[in-house]
């Protein structure tokens, strides 16, 4: 099968592509059958996901408490409060952006590094890949247990090691330090998920034809050059997936925060998803619905900005 596809793939572009000026032009003719493919997904999604979500949206302009039979329409006042007069929401947003920034950079870099180092299918790579993936298998609640243990000021490993090597001055309250807490959570998040995103990078790397590397080597390219000019541009789709997925994951790191910070978490550990949840628990369903709309807008904006940024690094230079 490999051989035949190869020939086919080789034949068409020559016959088809050069005649069209616009890149997309060649594909303007859509086989009508293609429209059937997304139908099952769209149907399920519309009925069981989008529908309920839209219903939740209707509440965003109300003061519904989540259980009473009656509620009032409050117009856009929920949104007004969120934007201009809500320290808790703003604090959660700030924390979330800090968290996002650290996690996206550290996790993407780390998972790419690991993927490059482990891309070949040797026995040891396979074993290490499995090991690195292991934390992702644990539920976030379990990860939180593990790291609560690590960060504990009295029994935790980090302070014990610091004390053991005479660096008592560096012993910290970690999650209890209001200025640092969110970064310590970010570290736990990277620990738990770097191996998971490594898998995406490995899948991306393995879809790069080996011949490209071979010809680059023949041209005398160094290891760094091969990475820079072959790997990096060609794993663009994987990078885009990893960055976008990590972003969403960072916005929704919910169990981990509740596990590490308690329910409801302190202000220094609150992020947007926990904020919405607390608002909901606090019997302010209308306000929580409004918060989730703002939340989705923020995710959309951040994702778009990131798409730009990733493209720039990939094609810009």
């Amino acid at each position: 099968m490999t051989a035949t596809t190869e020939t086919r793939a080789g034949v068409t572009p020559a016959a088809d592509r050069p005649r069209r000026g616009r890149r997309r032009g060649a594909h303007g003719r859509v086989h009508p059958g293609l429209w059937f493919f997304p139908v099952p997904a769209l149907l399920l999604y519309l009925v069981f996901f989008a529908g309920p979500t839209l219903q939740a949206f209707q509440y965003s302009v109300t003061d519904w408490d989540g259980f009473s039979a009656d509620f009032a329409n409050v117009g856009t006042s929920n949104f007004g409060s969120i934007v201009s007069n809500d320290d808790l929401f703003r604090g959660a947003l700030t924390n979330n952006l800090k968290f996002l920034f650290v996690v996206v950079i550290a996790q993407t870099a780390l998972s790419l590094l690991l993927a490059v180092l482990l891309q070949r299918n040797s026995r040891s790579s396979t074993a290490l890949r499995a090991l690195f993936f292991l934390p992702a298998i644990l539920s976030s609640v379990s990860v939180a247990f593990v790291w609560k243990f690590m960060y504990d000021p009295n029994f935790g490993l980090i302070n014990q090691v610091l004390g053991g090597i005479g660096l008592d001055g560096l012993r910290s309250a970690f999650l209890g330090n209001a200025d640092q807490a969110i970064f310590w959570v970010a570290l736990a998040q990277v620990w738990a998920h770097a191996g998971q995103l490594m898998v995406i990078f490995i899948a991306g790397l393995q879809q790069i034809p080996a011949e490209l590397y071979e010809s680059a080597s023949l041209d005398g390219a160094s290891q760094w050059q091969r990475f820079r000019f072959v790997t990096w541009p060609l794993i663009a789709p994987a990078t885009a997936i990893v960055v976008a997925y990590t972003t969403i994951q960072s916005f929704k790191a919910f169990d981990l925060i509740l596990g590490l910070g308690g329910n409801p978490p302190k202000g220094s550990l609150d992020i947007l998803s926990t904020r919405i949840y607390t608002t909901f628990t606090n019997s302010k369903f209308g306000y929580a619905a409004a918060e989730s709309i703002v939340f989705m807008l923020i995710i959309a904006v951040v994702s778009l900005l990131q798409r730009r940024a990733v493209r720039l690094t990939q094609h810009g230079a």
Partner: protein, 271 residues
Amino acid sequence: MVGSLGRRVVLGVYALLIIIPLLVVLTGSFKTTEQLFDAPFGPPSTLAPTNYGSVLTDASMGTAFVNSTVVTVTAVALTLVIGSLAAYGLSRIPGWKGFALYGFLVLGMAVPAQSNMIPQYVLWQRLGLLDSRLGLVLVEIVATLPVAVFILTGFMRTLPRELFEAGSIDGAGPWRTYRSIALPVSLPSLAATAIFLFVIQWNDLLYPLLFIHDPAKVTLPLALLNFQGEFLTNYPLLFTGVIVASAPLVVAYVFLQRYFVAGLTAGSVKG
């Protein structure tokens, strides 16, 4: 970029960072609460699997295990089928129409579960899907479909168009192209997506908590909650539960990892 020695150092250090906390969990599962706090990082004094006995003989555990397996395997398989169909179609429908549908589906990732869980609860109740494995499968599918479509479409877009065009010239309809070209070439990304879905669905707590009340239908995360008291948390039992509950995922991972190797061959198709 990284020499052989450097490579080993990086991998070695990272391996330690992963192993040490996991060792705390593993050794912890052989300790009593007292011992765990006494020397959290020390070796257990005994390897007697007392905690494992308590976890495995717990009546709810066996049922939960079966339920989790049935629900997760079914939901992952269906999500992959539905998701890859959508991804294939959307990656090949050009222009704004395809992108709009894709954007609409993928937007679901940004929706916090808390914001639609009440309307969902009401809908499931009306359809008689509460307290049923089918209902749980359904909610897991729709909740993870956006992620699946997102990852799979991303990968399918990277497949050279020529691959499919060759097919159409031979007279193969999109269904045959999907089955005999797109799917085989996408095995690595399907495997990667499958692992993601397994992890998300297997560990999901929110939906089972909300939708399942019947003890005969509980899943593992719910059963694990039984080990957690209000004020007295039995860490060793919890750690044991974590290990027992994670074991199937390790198996799933090892199984799916083989397809990365297959992916290497599939990838060469494009050369």
